[in-house]
Amino acid sequence: MDTILNKLTRCIEFGKTDKAAAWPPDMKDQDGADELALRALEEGHPPDQILDALIAGMEVVGRKFSENKIFVPQMLMSAKAMKAAMTHLKPAFESGAAKRKGTFVIGTVQGDLHDIGKNIVAMYIEGSGYEVVDLGVDVKPEQFLVEIDKHPGCVVGLSALLTTTMINMKRTVDVIRETHPKQVICVGGAPVSEKFCREISADFYSPDPQGAVAFLNRLAS
């Protein structure tokens, strides 16, 4: 059955942002996530159900990505479509009619200016129903502390691209744990590994954004 919510899920899966978007070529001139999300709201679908439909699309994207069936560009197009749909849901989040699953505070650690990987993870986690606080690049440990206090119960995500800057992950974890010993901290980035995660006493490592969302979902459930 091809409901409007199914169509919305497919727009996220294939990265169809709006009707004018040229991508993907085989969905040319069809309504995109932007139009369909708005219409679903107008037709009276509860915001929570619309969000679930969006998340379902994002799940397929994450699975394909971690199975190496798609690459970063497709992931980014899906995130773009997600963003377009979420704009319409914003009032529902503000009024409490739709709820996010939790808050994720993410940043590239001090000394590292790379943001492509961090942005992809942030977009994917946001598209999976979480509020994401993105602190950007070259983030000092103290900046994480400020956000942790603002968002009780949040999960922290640290990113680094360089072998020389991933050392700063350890310092960041140490500073956070000094005052917040139970803070949950995830790490990721090209040089980072499960072994490194254990060595610096972080809680979780994933080589792909899908793994991070699975971890967050386990914590939230």
């Binding site: 190496n68 690459f71 000394g111 200016l113 070259d138 072998t163 020389t164 040089p191 590994s193």
Partner: protein
Amino acid sequence: MTRLSRKDWLVLCSRPPVILDGAWGSLLQQRGLSAGTAPESWNLSHPDDVLAAGEAYVQAGSQIILTNTFGGNRISLARHGLADQAAVINRTGAELSRQAADAGLSRQSVDAGPSRQAAGAGPSRQAAGSGALVFGSIGPTGAMLMMGEVTAAQMSEAYGEQAEALKDGGADGLVIETMADLEEAVIATRAAVSTGLPVVSCMVFDSGPNNDHTMMGVAPAQAAEALEDAGAWAVGANCGRGPEDFLPLCRAFRAATRLPLWMKPNAGLPEFEEGKTVYRMTAEQFAGLVRPLWEQGGATFVGGCCGSNPAFIQALATNPSE
């Protein structure tokens, strides 16, 4: 005034392997460069240290050394507040490598005299086993075209500025390195080609089930075709993975193009030990794994990327054709 004519280039390419250099950043870190500082800024603030890195590779046997200008485009430099110094940073970077290459020349060829002109540029110097060529390093901007973070025109201008400055500083050629996005690689290649210098275009293959695609999903055959179209004189791969993964890459490139291939693998993958990053591969292991790249894979130019150092290049350069 092109230093390296088409003919010189063909002569150079007819004698594989041509030995390249290894990592520069780690040499500068040993000399005190801190994480978070733009390595390229050292061209102005610590020229002697940059010169020493270049000289170490020339002495190790590099026939071509690169320049300390990987992140020297103004879009990358802007993150460090250095955009306005893009031209001088690149020009100085090329001058320093030029100086390192020529110092190697005067040390090694006693009879050739101090003048580079007297010794002759290009392969004739190479043939005498002395000196080195300088290829200017051009890395990615770190900004994504498809997300609208930067326009193609801005990118083209930034790469054009960098390429011209490297040429002004005396580069014999240019190397586009570590590209993940084919559109960006093509823009950089076109900008570099417009200087008239020989241009090598490389991408980084570290994704997909067999680590044979770039992060953006580009396969070697696609890269070879588009970069050759854009005017590259040679194509290839650098960084991302260790030498074992480069043999299949060489073969995929070889099947797609007749251009010379340029290969700079990492020294394996890094491990983390007692607060330090370590690469476990030894120089001899590296040299043993790189050898098949030209013996079986059709590569012409070989060197190292992350984790490699002058000892790795020396191991490569020692009796490479045995």
